[in-house]
Subunit: 256 residues, 2 copies
């Protein structure tokens, strides 16, 4: 979606290292937005993005208009069922339908051998992996680790909407997830206990409002009743008018 930052840079760099040709798509996709205004408000610094792409060795940028991608009313949609049901899917109805549909369209147009996605959007990654597998799309999905600020905040195009005070509060999201990861690594198997402790940490920041905090299996993204293997601890919070998401893959140390 553009508004490129070092997180996207990591995707491009890994693609560049593994591929003869690298194509970058930049498209702010209207059918995956929910709350009014978020689509319009999403940053679109195309000139800076093109310079960023060139500096990272991208061969081609595909930056179509909305009219090119949706020349007629879109009546065909890709639904990914239960993988899209919880967490982001619960709070952003239709979001993953819009994501899966546009990503399939981009795959059909660009026909890449590999496509690179960030782990920051872990459920999106799971949705795309499942769509590709279920629909036999001839593309390999490569997951790239989340890039973080030194204080732990995951890079996001939405971070630029944070005021200085909000920015100071934002790393609390990562801190709560990291605490959950430590608790799971130490052997806690009750997701409710892990979630209670993480919620308590988040509640210490009155500027932060939790939308969800969930512990789900990966790749099915279903909330677990007991932690008995690798799980994805994922959360969405609001800081002022900005929505932030983050997640960590967690596992008991003994189970390694």
């Amino acid at each position: 979606m553009g508004a490129l930052h070092a997180g996207h840079g990591a995707l491009i760099d890994q693609a560049r290292a593994q591929s003869a040709s690298v194509v970058l798509s930049i498209f702010v996709n209207p059918i995956q937005f929910n709350q009014g205004g978020d689509f319009e408000r999403y940053p679109r610094p195309l000139a800076a993005d093109l310079a960023f792409a060139e500096a990272h060795g991208v061969d081609a940028v595909f930056a179509p208009s909305v009219e090119e991608i949706y020349p007629q009313p879109q009546v065909t949609f890709v639904d990914v069922g239960r993988v899209a049901e919880h967490m982001e899917g619960q709070f952003r109805p239709g979001h993953f339908r819009g994501v899966a549909t546009v990503v399939l369209k981009l795959f059909q147009i660009v026909q890449p051998d590999r496509a690179y996605f960030g782990e920051k959007d872990a459920q999106q990654l799971a949705v795309i992996r499942r769509m590709v597998s279920d629909l036999n799309v001839a593309v390999e999905i490569v997951a790239v680790p989340t890039v973080r600020e030194p204080d732990g905040l995951a890079l996001s195009s939405r971070n630029r909407h944070l005021s200085a005070e909000e920015r100071a509060v934002a790393p609390r999201l990562y801190q709560a997830l990291a605490a959950a990861a430590r608790s799971i690594a130490a052997g806690e198997t009750d997701p409710q206990a892990v979630k209670r402790a993480a919620h308590a940490l988040l509640a210490e920041e009155p500027r932060m409002r939790v939308e969800y905090l969930e512990i789900a299996d990966d790749p099915e993204m279903q909330p677990v009743a007991r932690i008995a293997g690798p799980v994805r601890v994922a959360a969405a919070v609001w800081v002022g008018g900005t929505r932030l998401i983050d997640n960590l893959l967690c596992q008991a140390t003994l189970h390694k």
Copy 2:
């Protein structure tokens, strides 16, 4: 879906005439069947189909097992919205979702330049055309006219289920559609009048039960309030335990 007849032969022959390589898929797709037993009952004469394919110059037959196409529970589905809403879509809920999903999978696996579909399944053709267009699939859809018996009955793998008496009754479906086409060619613009006359013809056969008889625009497949251009007159009837469908593209002669 196999059980090949001269209708499929026309598809293959046209593909053969236009292409360097012809791949034929044979797959009875469980997720597009509704009434219990129809999937199991669908004919699967693979040895005869392979001989038929060879005689028509097919280069490769792709006849996967259900487990190859659905190795895991299918959670991703392609929905084609309003094109799939009426006629077949109304009486076979989920049918076109199953068709669109498996056809997209086959396209991704085989990656054909062109794909050939029969006009007998006109709404299926419209669904696939719209899916391909909406999802930017790089395949050209070619429509091939319906092949009929001398008495007008459209060829169908299901015709073999008809008893001799039912077979004698079956051409009445085509006769009713042909009467509708003549009435529209003569200038009738009221779909209700056309449908009443066609229903009266069908009602003369007590062995034939009408499921629907509709007049829709093509390619959107929406019932029309007035006939003012080319329309698709389509019907589904039951003859005993066998369901038959057929359709004709109709237009006022003056509008040609």
